[in-house]
Subunit: 205 residues, 2 copies
DNA sequence: ATTGTTACTGAACGTTTGTTCCGTGTCAAG
DNA sequence: CTTGACACGGAACAAACGTTCAGTAACAAT
């Protein structure tokens, strides 16, 4: 069968899975000989072949001539399984249930250079599921689209709010109705500065 | 000066930092020669020496006789800066503002082996800041404390609720008042199974 | 019947890499 | 002054490692 798409074969998927698992467990990707040994290959060339295929499909990156130079694209750290529909019956982490793998790190953070995390104080954004004590992931940028959630500096205080800028005024709107919008007009003597926009939220229970 | 504690010297810290950075950037720890080259050493022995010291201090683990067999203990990836109080004035990411570094991965996931992620459907838990479409981090375990948020299997359907078990009944309580509690008693013909408890929540905006 | 892809075995080459032994110099404590 | 930890240079060895070439077999499409 001629293979055209970007999808790996079952055998190739097993190689990719092993690379991911090994990287997660040991902190480094496996060598080609470790892969061969784990999957029962007698020749390292079998691995080289699969690795080349995975690279063609864009599922794997390589650092040539370097030991352990394999990296699964997408989720950097192998991540944990995402379960879609959980089927009734037996083991939850059965292969059929697993929709993919996901590492919160790379999922929440695209550009580590310009990203920071801010701990939220106060409950003004509970309407968006942002509670006091939550961590918001913020990408630094001085401008924001109308309606997006931003971290703004208002008179020496950082605050998380919805951004609504008009021609004549800027409004910082809370999603908790108990909090009135903050309105800033030119000549108020107040300063507003967008520090960045909120791209993610997470909390530990 | 006789060195006694578990603290590394400034030079050792630099080696450790480089190992961490390299592991994050490339997906694999560096070789001893890469470390030597990066820090300006002419001899690999200088690295071996520092690595041995870091290992004694418990800051580094080694996989002997294996290429790239170094792993910084504790925080795996250096992560993004956490900002505490954002001071007025200049650069946000100034050193004074940074409270620490945090990687969502290792923050949310302690035991990768028994952890999975589930995408939430429905708004029954909005009271706890868990919205439809959010990802919940679940640690697999068959029992739960009263009041904790669990993923439970009720008649072939996985659901996220508060767990409240009495002697005579089990109640799955939503945090959105629009949803009545689900009560299961022995002899109902219904089945309840705790798949795991929710240890974290995250979402992308 | 031929072509092309997948999926390997087997062997070999050259480099990379961890490791070790020996030696030099600095600096602070006893 | 001696001792001991720290911080390196230089050189060398054996094992680990990525890579490549040659060849075999199954299978589907043309």
């Amino acid at each position: 069968m001629a293979r055209i798409g970007n999808n790996p074969t079952a055998r190739q998927q097993k190689v990719l899975d092993y690379i991911r698992r090994h990287a997660q467990r040991t902190g480094a990707p496996p060598t080609v000989r470790e892969i061969a040994s784990a999957l029962g290959f007698a020749s390292t060339n079998a691995v080289a072949c699969h690795v080349a295929a995975l690279e063609r499909h864009g599922l794997l990156e390589r650092r040539p001539h370097s030991s352990r130079g394999l990296r699964a694209t997408g989720s950097i750290s192998p991540g944990v399984p995402i379960l879609g529909r959980v089927a009734a019956g037996q083991p939850i982490t059965a292969q059929e249930n697993i929709e993919g793998y996901l590492a919160p790190d790379s999922f929440l953070i695209n550009d580590a250079e310009s990203t920071f995390v801010l701990r939220v104080q106060g409950d003004s954004m509970t309407g968006d599921g942002i509670l006091s004590g939550d961590y918001v992931v913020v990408r630094r940028q001085p401008v924001a689209e109308r309606g997006s959630i931003v971290v703004a500096m208002v008179d020496d205080e950082a605050t998380v709010k919805h951004w609504q800028a008009d021609a004549d005024a800027v409004r910082l709107v809370a999603s908790n109705p108990s909090y009135p919008p903050i309105e800033i007009r030119p000549g108020d003597g107040k300063m507003v500065d967008v520090l960045g926009i909120v791209t993610g939220v997470f909390r530990r229970l």
